[in-house]
Amino acid sequence: MAKKSNSSELKVSKIKEGTVIDHVDAGMALIVLEMLGITGREGTVATLSMNVVSKKTGRKDIVKIENRFLEYTEINQIALISPNATINEIKNFTVVKKFDVQLPEVIVGFPKCINPRCITNAREPQVQTYYVKSVDPLKIRCKYCNTNMDKNDVVKQLTKYSGITK
């Protein structure tokens, strides 16, 4: 849903064209970048703010990416690891679209099931399917083998990090 932004949000989004991902869970900004395939070597202009003070959640990260708009599947992936994130699409220095990420009740095609004995990890044509049991803290359940996965299981697959520690 498009919504008029106020001036304080505009300050956050001082890029000409692109996406501002706000209210990213504190400490997850680098993981969000990695999920989106942004390394910097491809020339993307991106700005990160980490652990800044937020009225809503105490601390948050902000990710600003120039000349890049997110696909539906990418937004779902962000929702998996940062359920309170908001996406701001910027065109000509103006927020043209702003919305909260929202995890669908069923996630399809991502991530891989962590159960090595699961049929979705065999050479079969179908895609992974998960029921979202809880958004925060994240709990998803494989439709096929009923294995539960949490945020850490997802983050591990998205990045080279071996997981986040509390």
Partner: protein
């Protein structure tokens, strides 16, 4: 819900079945004994494909016997080594081939979720005869059917589940299915290393079923209305020493059963190793062989409901 609602339906997980479904299945199973005794052939001309990609002779024989009793015929893959999976064929391709030969497929497969995948690809109904470590719905149904026959009702009853509760899939399925009934109390009896998984416990809590975890079998015997014994499977242990440590810990004997409330039924999914001593076999407690017969009745009921066999 009615008998008709089963037409063409796959049975993948007991979690897909409602309490009403269970009542219909068991009512049908009650009628199957008559079919065995009569010469009726409600499934004349129908073909069951038994696709067993993991060895399980008892389950396969039970499905085959059930189909024969109903007048249908059976085609079967019984040697997993000769199966197409070994030659590298995907399960989805195997299903799309076999569905052309039959009216229904009973499948056993080592991977978890395999039956659900099969059902999604198949044009004919799928009966899950065991997929991976968790799901074996026809076993759960025959276990519950046996309890219902022996106890009349399971509501308000206390049931002990003994042995390998961590890896024993029959335990998980039976516990789930019992949670559809009111006021069932479960006693999970196992060594600490083989306790029921936290995930299953959470689900049982959500379902509102009362359970207690205990280590001593003899303590529990006077408290319960039925005992469900399981084998402690050697192949589940990474080290043999660990297996040796626990394998004799839970052996049910005739003497131990003298502390029971009365002639309480003792069930076992079979095969047993030594967890029920032979002296129990000729007591009123032993229902584990009757359980196998009930398995044929329950599988007949499912085949007949799904394939639309008439029952008079």
């Amino acid at each position: 819900m009615s008998r008709k609602s089963f037409l063409g339906k796959s049975i993948v997980s007991i979690k897909d079945l409602t309490r009403e479904d269970l009542d219909i299945i068991f009512e049908e199973a009650d009628k199957m004994e008559q079919i065995i005794k009569s010469n009726k052939k409600p499934l004349d001309g129908k073909i069951l494909a038994a696709l067993f990609m993991e060895p399980s002779t008892r389950t396969r024989l039970s499905f085959e016997a059930a189909m024969h009793h109903l007048g249908g015929s059976v085609i079967t893959v019984s040697d997993p080594k000769s199966s197409s999976a070994v030659k590298g064929e995907s399960l989805s391709d195997t299903i799309r081939t076999v569905e052309n030969y039959c009216d229904i497929i009973a499948i056993r497969h080592p991977l978890e979720g395999s039956a659900r995948l099969a059902a999604e690809f198949s044009r004919v109904p799928i009966l899950n005869g065991g997929s991976g470590a968790e799901e074996h719905p026809t076993q759960a149904l025959l276990d519950l059917y046996t309890l219902l026959k022996e106890l009349k009702t399971v509501e308000g009853k206390s049931i002990a589940m003994v042995g390998d509760l961590k890896y024993g899939r029959t335990i998980h399925s039976l516990a789930y299915i019992l949670s559809k009934y009111n006021a069932v109390k479960l006693y999970f009896v196992s060594p600490p290393s083989l306790r029921i998984k936290a995930e299953i416990k959470n689900d049982l809590k959500e379902a509102g079923i009362e359970f207690h975890e205990v280590e001593s079998l003899s303590e529990v015997i006077p408290l319960v209305d039925a005992i469900y014994m399981t084998r402690i499977q050697k192949e589940r242990f990474p080290q043999e020493a660990e297996y040796e440590k626990v394998k004799d810990a839970y052996v049910l004997t005739k003497e131990l059963l003298t502390f029971a409330k009365g002639p309480i039924p003792v069930l076992h999914p079979l095969p047993r190793v030594n967890e029920i001593s032979y002296d129990v076999d000729d007591t009123k407690h032993a229902v584990y062989f009757k359980q196998m017969y009930n398995g044929v009745l329950v599988r007949m009921a499912l085949l007949n409901l799904i394939l639309g066999g008439e029952v008079k």
